[in-house]
């Protein structure tokens, strides 16, 4: 019973983390048809910047309180906006209209560049920013003590997810966005500024990626290579749910979270294996993902 409760709670926490680190990826793909490999770099940059900011602040004020959370948020926004603009205006707009896979390669190129940029800025050492993690004390669930920060991740991420969903489906810009998703040409013929929507979407996705990194900073040790590992995991999450679908990313995160947690409990060596087996099965059987719609070509 306790094991079950532990698995459920751990899965939820892990799924929330997966969702927040991959939602930006699926959002960008859904609107722009860009599978952004550099999402991994945005995550890593967000984590580095947040960890660095927290470290700087804590160094001067050992009793830092919730300011730390503000620092993390600001780090995510700054990274997301700066790097997002750089990628979208500097690179992507030159490849719009090219083959989907060429665009993937372009973002892969950006990813390679950013990998080294991060090493140049932050060096090879690891950054640790554990302090925010202990802001909320520990909470006991079914007799097992949990770190409050981890548990708070669940409602926070749920809130973000619902917010994104509502922004798309319940606001005017969101409805226009759906028009853009549905048919770019018609949308721009109707006077919608598609280029603007692309830039804004990319920035939102980039900020979410960086936010995922910033929120992870207290949970991990921030070292070179975290973006490399993250991006394949995020691919698995969004592909399972259906590329471009927000609900799908949530389901994908839950599935992967559950699968990985169960593996960690029972057969730790299968951790990575499970994730990619699920991804493979979904891709093989339903390439459009659990939530995607199959595309048929009319002739």
């Amino acid at each position: 019973m306790m094991a079950l409760a532990a698995i459920v709670v751990d899965s939820l926490v892990y799924a929330s983390w997966l969702f927040i680190v991959s939602i930006g990826l699926t959002l960008i793909f859904g609107v722009m048809n860009v599978l952004n490999v550099a999402h991994g770099s945005l995550y890593a940059l967000g984590a580095y910047t947040a960890a660095w900011g927290v470290g700087m602040y804590v160094g001067g004020a050992p009793d830092a309180g919730f300011v730390l959370l503000a620092i993390m948020l600001v780090a995510a926004i700054v990274v997301g906006v700066l790097v997002g603009i750089l990628i979208e205006r500097g690179v992507l707009r030159w490849v719009y209209g090219r083959d989907e896979i060429v665009i993937v390669l372009a973002t892969y190129a950006v990813f390679l560049v950013l990998e080294d940029v991060m090493k140049l800025i932050f060096g090879p050492e690891s950054y640790i920013a554990f302090q925010p993690r202990f802001l909320f004390g520990t909470v006991s669930v079914a007799g097992i003590p949990y770190v409050g920060y981890d548990l708070l991740l669940v409602p926070l991420v749920a809130l973000i997810g619902v917010g994104i969903w509502a922004a798309i489906h319940r606001t005017r810009p969101g409805k226009l966005l759906i028009a853009v998703i549905h048919d770019r040409e018609i949308a721009s013929a109707l006077g919608i500024n598609v280029a603007r929507f692309f830039t804004v979407t990319f920035l939102c996705g980039a900020i979410l990626g960086a936010l995922g990194g910033a929120l992870s900073a207290p949970l991990i040790s921030v070292v070179p290579g975290i973006g490399v590992e993250l991006i394949v995991l995020a691919f698995a999450v969004v592909v399972i749910g259906g590329l471009g679908s927000v609900e799908g990313a949530a389901i994908g995160a839950l599935l992967v979270g559950l699968g990985r947690t169960a593996a960690v409990f029972f057969r730790p060596e299968l951790e990575l294996f499970v994730v990619f087996v699920v991804m493979t099965v979904v891709l093989a059987v339903r390439p459009e993902g659990l939530f995607g719609k199959p595309q048929t070509r009319r002739i």
Binding site: L35, V91, W94, V95, R98, D99, E100, I101, V102, V104, L105, A106, Y108, A109, V110, F111, L112, V113, L114, E115, D116, V117, K119, L120, V228, V232, F235, A236, V239, L243, E269, L270, E271, L272, F273, V275, F276, V277, M279, T280, L283, A284, P287, R297, I299
Partner: protein
Amino acid sequence: MTALRNIRPTTAGIVLAAAALLGLWPLLPAWAAHTAAVSLGGGLVALGLMILIRFGLVSFGQGLFFAIGGYAAALANQFLGITDMLVLSVAGIAAAGMIAWALGYIVRGHRGIFFAMLNLAFSMILFGILAKTVALGSTDGFSVGVPTLLGVAPGPEAGRLTFVLFGFIVISSALVAWMVDRILASPVGYAGQGVRENELRLRYLGVSARGAVHLAYIMAAKLAALGGVFTVLLIGHVTPEDTAYWTKSGEFVFVAILGGAGNVAAPFIAQTVFELVRTFALQYVPEAWQMLLGITLLLVILFLPGGLWSLVDRLRGRDA
């Protein structure tokens, strides 16, 4: 993208290149010979990707078959005591061929990013297995002895890269490149262009597009596996991280795009450039090696969509 007219017999070029490499052997410093041989190994993998690119497909998991080739050779060496490079090569190709044949039934219906992602997932599964299986050496992998050929064993004083191994790699790469060149000029090769340009029309011409993709997938897998065998024989060691992890697959895609799909020589040229630049970059600007790759890839995508080979075409006064 390359048009049909770019397919032409390159037999003479292949024979010349192979003869030149063999003739240069006494003059080549050890590092140069090693770089050449390693570039042939990696070039074979990129050659396989080039076939897929001609079909309009990009695999982000070609490390899967590279690893299968490398591990097949390493396992056969370790557990069966086989040292013959020919036998090890055949083992690698056979293993990859069978696995690609089976997986081919899944991937042949996939295109675009779904094809790329599915292969990525396959390769990550293998990575997960290799990295966690103690019998397969876990993350450390394991070592491979010095290979022999038809009973000829190198003397103890010779290094790992003997003339026999060098010659074997050069001659088999040349043979394989020649075969691929022929295949690209055959109806299957053209069917690949049909898959890339308009699969619907190809189907209405009575061709099974899926069947053609399946065949190309198996060919690319075998080439990657042979490249894996060569690399393992040259390096003497195999690990999951250096073969099956997605970053390795990304490198191969980089090389294939850098070379372009215009000619079977392109992947080898690109791989050689890659190896040379890496050697120097790691020595002088180790922090900027990936940046260099990234910027090059961007430049190729933006300004040289036909890859390095399109420069050759341009020199010859053809439009790429």
